[in-house]
Symmetry: C2
Subunit: 331 residues, 2 copies
């Protein structure tokens, strides 16, 4: 029997209709396993030896030609750092100059690596690069929102094979981001607690969608998952922004993230996916009602007219079954 | 130079970054032109002669075996009409029974037709079927929102070739729908006018994104288009719901819709697309601040991590150039 499920934090609803769909194993696609990708490609701008094909690095660890992680300005940036944030009127419509910061995080020197197959310490260096760049970018007075994300595979919007993620920082905080913040404030004012803290505690209490849990982090398929095998990772302690992750938590998050991605990689045969780290806007870092998190979205279903029109996603895989399937994967 | 553009009605922003992209003609994909599809398929449940493969029609025009348009309950419905709207608690999470109505509108008896290639009178019969079904469904006390949509092609979420669209009616009006309503109320209370009426008037005044205009309707690539070749059709007169379209307007809308789709069909070589008719929720049909419209989204770009995370869409095609390209298409 189908049911609607509500995301406790955003109040958005999904339709869970698993009887239309398949067992978790039916979602496995015949994608090219990562193993067939070569470790190095002559013409890849992110491979060692081709550093001259990118802009000068903003961050590298370690510095020099033996870098493990490297952050460079995006050569094909949708926004430019040398513009203003001025608004303009076009008739009664509004525009703003295309100011923003766009960077690429090259996650590993080897072309055929991916977070799911890296060492935990290597994943930690990627997560550390995210934090360091987010700290630096947040010092820019004109920036209000930093979005960290990864597009893996063509269905997730990238054709670049080399393991990389991106950071785009904007002066704009759009309604799409503000609305859930408003819901979180209302919840805080009513119940005196961060709604995300409550949601995470409830997921742990119910326990049937957990993929992996550590002292400070928990990964699960959320109760109101919008698409098959959606996974989320939350810090258990209240923190509004990823900037506040501590040194000793980075290795722990790396372990949780790597295990979650490895279960997807092996269980679903290296699915195309997006992930996003969502933090509070700059200036709201200490707020008591927001909570950073990471959402991983395997691209194994297509949002269609109903989803675009209503915002109600039809999910054909039960998150309980998805989590069960993922925890059974041998890694 | 990239720029942010704001959707006047919803206040959402897009990034227009055409220099990253291509000229309009570069968006043309090598999709299979519709002409190679056979006019009839033995195993197609929507082809004449196979009526027994669907449920009994709820609507047919004309009645009988020579139908031109046929509406049937969706055999693979995500929601069921025989359930309640009761809410349930699962711990501190909320669910609702999966009540809803899901119907399929079979747009034409011939398998290889599509709205872009039909006669205007045939398109009008599809639009009439939408209205008649929306009127009937809206009489159901448990229904609050009716979404009419079309998924055309695999990238738009369908594998069924036979020309069809869908109607899904839900008891839930989600935040995704409520938020723009709130913006519209605020605008109405401040300026005393429907923000959509104003937006349409401004699009007509600026004039450089218009695709086709008739006495009562206008089709354009909107100022803040989220993706390449997004098109919208609005009634010029204030009407909150599609239900209120009048008999003599249906043929006129059919002409505008058919021309817009034909320009996309020929100009972009039959692109996969979604379209959606958005109406005010039931009970708000007479409201002065909402306005029904149709949005057509060719699926020639992929929303990725940044779009999902921030809600800010990066559009690599200028809507001015897209509209110019479409108006130049010979149909």
């Amino acid at each position: 029997m189908p049911e609607f499920r509500q995301n406790k934090a955003t109040k958005e609803w999904v339709i869970l209709a698993p009887e239309r769909g398949k067992r978790p194993s039916d979602f496995i696609k015949g994608l090219t396993p990562r193993a067939t990708v070569p470790p190095y490609k002559d013409d890849c701008p992110f491979c060692p030896g081709n550093e001259h094909l990118t802009y000068e690095p903003i961050y590298a660890h370690p510095a020099g030609k033996d870098w493990q992680v490297r952050v460079v300005p995006n050569k094909f940036a949708a926004l430019q750092a040398d513009l203003t944030v001025t608004r303009h009127r076009v008739g009664s419509f509004l525009t703003a100059d295309g100011f923003g910061i766009a960077e690429v995080v090259i996650e590993h020197p080897r072309h055929n690596q991916t977070l799911a197959t890296m060492e935990i310490t290597e994943v930690a260096e990627v997560l550390r690069a995210y934090r360091e760049r987010q700290i630096e970018i947040s010092k820019n007075d004109k920036i209000n929102l930093v979005t960290i994300f990864r597009n893996h595979g063509a269905r997730a919007g990238t054709s670049l094979e080399h393991p990389h993620s991106q950071i785009i920082a904007t002066p704009i905080v759009p309604p799409h981001v503000r609305y859930p913040m408003e819901q979180a404030v209302l919840h805080y004012d009513e119940f005196g607690r961060c709604v995300y803290c409550e949601m995470v505690a409830e997921e742990i209490r119910q326990g049937d969608r957990i993929i992996v849990e550590s002292r400070n982090f928990v990964a699960f398929c959320p109760f109101a998952a919008r698409s098959p095998f959606e996974c989320r990772i939350y810090p258990k302690k209240h923190k509004a922004t990823y900037i506040l992750i501590e040194d000793d938590e980075i290795l722990e998050l790396a372990s949780v993230l790597r295990e979650t991605l490895a279960r997807l990689y092996i269980g679903l045969n290296n699915p195309d996916h997006n992930y996003i780290i969502r933090s509070a806007p700059i200036g709201d870092h200490d707020t008591r009602h927001l909570h950073w998190y990471m959402v991983i979205i395997p691209k194994i279903s297509t949002p269609a007219g109903f989803e675009i029109g209503s915002g109600i996603y039809i999910n054909t895989a039960s998150p309980e079954e998805a989590a069960e399937f993922l925890t059974q994967v041998k890694i």
